[in-house]
């Protein structure tokens, strides 16, 4: 079984996501960064860019307008003022 962690995406007007996920790749201040389960506690600012979230079966992408990401105790919360789901480009 794959190891997962809880991930929430919140904006001032809604909760965009609250799921157990396998991994994500976020546009961090110092370049894109990947987060897997049991990541060390982290507080990072985010840039405008594309966030990719992988669960067991699915993969979703979001366009985010900066924000902040907190990872601690095998859960993560992403706060951004604008988040919009995008359909990933076909490969």
């Amino acid at each position: 079984m794959t190891v997962t962690y809880r991930f929430r995406i919140l904006t001032p007007s809604r909760q965009v996501l609250d799921e157990d996920i396998v991994s994500m790749v976020a546009p961090g201040a110092a370049g894109y960064l990947g987060v897997l389960a049991n990541h060390a506690p982290l507080l990072t600012t985010l840039m405008r860019g594309i966030l990719t979230v992988k669960t067991d079966q699915t993969e979703k992408s979001y366009r985010i307008d900066g924000g902040i990401l907190r990872v601690a105790g095998n859960s993560a919360v992403l706060l951004s003022e604008e988040v919009e789901e995008v359909t990933p480009e076909p490969r």
Partner: protein, 310 residues
């Protein structure tokens, strides 16, 4: 004694008023539902921001003492505008406030029961209760402004016509102006007086400190877990503080609108049922008077014919 015609006119008038209050009630109810949802969904985000601020405060605490708290932060609210420059320590310092800016959030419109009055009274009391402070007022919403304009209080800023759809861009500008008053030293503390939304029947007038940021609940257990800060502490603060301030204003407006519509809905419901009650009593009065007239006419006819027979 009003004539039958007077009563009929009055019934007509009350019927019309009832139609109006009923319509206002329905409009307020529709708006209330939307505003209530907005107020509810703004909360998790705000709570999470508080939490992060608490974490950051806990891990910065040791460094505060060593003078590292004198970071200069450039806070950017609206893209393309000059950022506001503040000292981080100044944002958190709990020193005595001498020139508070009181942000009074009322509605632009009335007919919402005691909604505006309660807020205005709270602001009035706040200013009177702190005579040693040189209070300045910032009004959001026409009603509070209209009241204090005629009084001996200096209003340093006024905003009206904010959309109940809570446009983020609009609110960011308001937040920038408010934080700007603090950053420039025009005020040395900011307080929010607004209506905190509980339910349609209930909202509480709340006075809250907005700046400097009140002591946050420090997550002491978090201090042991060593956080990685990226890119660095200063940058995290520079992102976090504008988010925090904007969210505070966002949540305040969300609460205020939900409370306002709730109050208007209840007030109009009451007005409608009052109109119904009045209508009922006037109709009874009208029927009684009409019956009295008929009885009188009958008595006259009977009396007249009796006079002729004898």
């Amino acid at each position: 004694m009003p004539s039958l015609l007077d009563i009929r006119a009055r019934i007509k008038a009350v019927e019309n008023i009832k139609k109006i209050t009923r319509a206002m009630q329905l409009v307020a109810a529709a708006k209330f539902n939307r505003a209530q949802n907005r107020a509810r969904s703004a909360r998790p985000y705000a709570r999470e921001l508080d939490e992060i601020l608490g974490v950051l405060a806990a891990i910065s605490e040791d460094e505060f003492d060593t003078g590292a708290g004198s970071d200069v932060l450039d806070l950017s609210f609206v893209e393309g505008e000059t950022p506001l420059r503040v000292h981080r320590a100044g944002l958190f310092e709990q020193s005595e406030v001498k020139r508070p800016g009181v942000i009074l959030v009322t509605a632009d419109r009335g007919l919402a029961g005691a909604f505006n009055t309660r807020l205005i009274r709270a602001a009035d009391r706040f200013i009177r209760d702190h005579p040693q402070m040189d209070s300045r007022l910032i009004t959001i919403g026409k009603k509070g402004n209209a009241y204090f304009k005629r009084r001996d209080v200096s209003i340093i800023h006024h905003v009206e016509g904010l959309s109940d759809r809570l446009q983020l861009d609009e609110l960011k500008r308001v937040t920038q102006t408010l934080v700007g008053l603090f950053a420039s030293g025009e005020v040395d503390g900011l307080y929010l007086i607004y209506s905190q939304f509980k339910s349609a029947m209930r909202s509480d007038v709340t006075i809250e400190k907005f700046l400097s940021i009140p002591p946050v609940h420090k997550k002491d257990d978090e201090r042991k877990s060593v956080y990685i800060l990226e890119p660095d502490r200063e940058a995290v603060y520079e992102t976090l503080i504008p988010l925090y301030a904007t969210t505070k204003i966002f949540a305040t407006m969300a609460d205020s609108f939900a409370s306002e519509y709730g109050a208007r809905m209840v007030a109009m419901q009451l007005a409608t049922s009052n109109a119904e009650e009045m209508l009922e009593s006037q109709i009874i009065l009208r029927n009684r008077m009409r019956q009295a007239m008929i009885t009188k006419e009958l008595a006259e006819i009977v009396g007249g014919s009796a006079a002729q027979v004898s």
